[in-house]
Symmetry: C2
Subunit: 368 residues, 2 copies
């Protein structure tokens, strides 16, 4: 096991975030410009459900980001969160008062963790309040809404990041780094799948009006996003097939979807996702080697191997690493490769739209 | 490592070939009926190319089958094979004289190992000569030809087996056995791929008139056949996508094909095959466990693991096991599950036809 410090040095090298390490490694304030002392990114979470709670807990270990505010429609949660995270009254908002955040200089960014179909509305509200936005993936329910969100953030002059936590995860970064260093040779096959058996049939994830879609939106996006960051190319076509074994539970959203991607180099990807199959794999096959992560997309620990043997990367809390990394992007204008911005989110949304269109058209090949 | 004897006892149990073991284990002739003493299956090979040579060499270790004859269009090969395998002049045929085999009581069966598109013609010639036939996979170039072959063999009263060597291979049988015993629970995902980088651009495998197709016909059929024997179901739909990076080398046949299958239970399969990617995997995911073979389809050694840990099955020469098993099927009317007969071959051909049709129709979903 490598130490957290080793990991941070490693991710700095592998991501090219030259100043990430100093920012993240130092608990002592340093100056990052002549005018302004370095400080932590001050985050409000919008949507205090299970994933919002996970992010909040993970942020307790952040070195560059801190939870300072909440936006919630559930008044009963307010005292609990205030106590747990030392949140002052002035940083507590609901969905009607979020616009007033523009008068609050103590919040830098709002992390939108609401149901997918509400992302567009909420991101645009936050942008209008002049705050940077982190939006959980999928960025939206359609590419059209994703474009509106990007335009709104550009107009407001705020940054828009998408909650792609794995871009900051050591095993994932190691595989990306090995591919980019040419260790696999020319990549020619990707084989990704991710799914789980979803429980409570009344949850919002099974309602199209809130989730926008089913397994594909929720976890299939990991396979798609991974195919894109492994390939370092944008797909030129997609095909898809839907299978439904429980038309009652999955009356509104997709249960199982297989989809395939073709890339300009000739690389192809076979992917699958399901709310009724527990399976998980990231796989990249090149002329000279391969990489496999399995588990690959969950909250960890991730396991992996390549043609060189087992991977042994540091095990981190994904959301801690993500929020520290995003602090550096937002506060210090750093970049990460592959990016985690709105344009990256839009690229996934365009393919997700095309997957659903392929299914509507009898699995027809959709050019991208 | 398990001994060969252990394996034969095992395969007997797992296949239900109750009398396979005595036949295979005993070098001493025994009676299998009151009228007739047990004897070896006397085989002629038609087509003395690289795979025909591999089968001939493997048969040297058979206990229930022996190579006694050849059919070849290459006169220069005759003295070499005669010497190597002690083949008498009377058992040497060419493609014009094969009909005369009907007057030769010393040959039981002809193993047709010629280019795919010639299988139909050759199998029908052999059937007309009153000999049983083993036909290498793919059985034919189209399902229509496969049906003609079955009809011809039925009319002639001879058996028709397809060269599905993996049906006799211990790792493959172990996985089938575990699935059938319910150890994986309900199967819900299959992920098979097989490919290699094909060499010599002038070879018959790249000519449509001889090969009938490319990677799909040659090695993709393993993924398809495995999906069928793992699932123990017949697919109800198929979709497919073709990718070509070298339109000169692969001017006549497919280079890379992805295909997907849906089964009545809701099980789905993602498969891929290529003449330009070296990759190989058989994977079955169930509710309660999984099995993976990789390598899975080559001549061995095959490696595998399940949710219970690594598999450790005997390593056999596939073609030796196949020919001993087929001797028992032909001489003793034994059956094997999954079967290796013409109907099994036809089921694959129907899906292969539909895969090519899906590609012609823009990856449209083809009902089966």
């Amino acid at each position: 096991m490598t130490s957290r410090r080793d990991f941070l040095q490693k991710i700095t090298l592998s991501t090219g975030l030259a100043s990430l390490a100093p920012t993240l490694l130092s608990a002592t304030p340093a100056t990052n410009s002549a005018q302004q002392p370095a400080r932590k990114l001050r985050v409000a979470i919008m949507g205090l459900g299970s994933y919002g709670t996970r992010v909040a807990k993970a942020m307790k270990d952040c070195q560059s980001a801190e939870l300072v505010g909440i936006v919630t429609g559930s008044p009963e949660k307010i005292p609990v969160w205030k106590k747990e995270y030392n949140i002052p009254d002035k940083n507590v908002y609901n969905y009607e008062t979020v616009g007033q955040m523009k008068n609050n200089p103590d919040i830098d960014v709002v992390y939108v963790i609401t149901p997918n179909s509400l992302h567009a509305k909420h991101v645009m509200q936050v942008a209008a309040a002049g705050k940077h936005v982190i939006c959980e993936k999928p960025m939206a329910d359609t590419a059209a809404n994703a474009r509106k969100m990007i335009a709104a953030c550009e107009k407001a002059g705020v940054k828009l990041l998408i909650g792609y936590r794995l871009h900051f995860e050591p095993y994932t970064r190691k595989v990306i780094e090995m591919i980019q260093a040419g260790e696999m040779g020319k990549l020619n096959y990707i084989d990704n799948y991710q799914g789980f058996k979803i429980g409570d049939p009344t949850q919002w994830r099974l309602k199209k009006s809130l989730a926008g879609g089913g397994a594909l939106m929720d976890v299939g996006i990991y396979c798609l996003n991974a195919a894109r960051y492994l390939s370092n190319e944008e797909p030129i076509w997609v095909t898809a097939q839907e299978t439904k074994t429980d038309p009652v539970k999955f009356a509104e959203v997709d249960e199982t979807i297989q989809f395939q991607l073709g890339f300009p180099s000739g690389l192809v990807a076979s992917c699958a996702t399901s709310y009724n199959i527990r399976f998980e794999r990231l796989y990249a096959q090149g002329d000279k080697g391969f990489a496999e992560l399995s588990p690959a997309y969950g909250y960890g620990p991730i396991k992996g191997r390549t043609h060189k043997g087992p991977l042994d990367e540091p095990v981190v809390t994904h959301q801690t690493a993500q929020m520290d990394g995003m602090a550096d992007i937002i506060l210090n204008n750093k970049t990460i490769d592959p990016p985690v911005d709105g344009q990256e989110g839009l690229k996934d949304m365009i393919v997700l739209d095309a997957i659903y269109e392929s299914i509507r058209k009898g699995s027809a090949k959709m050019k991208l």
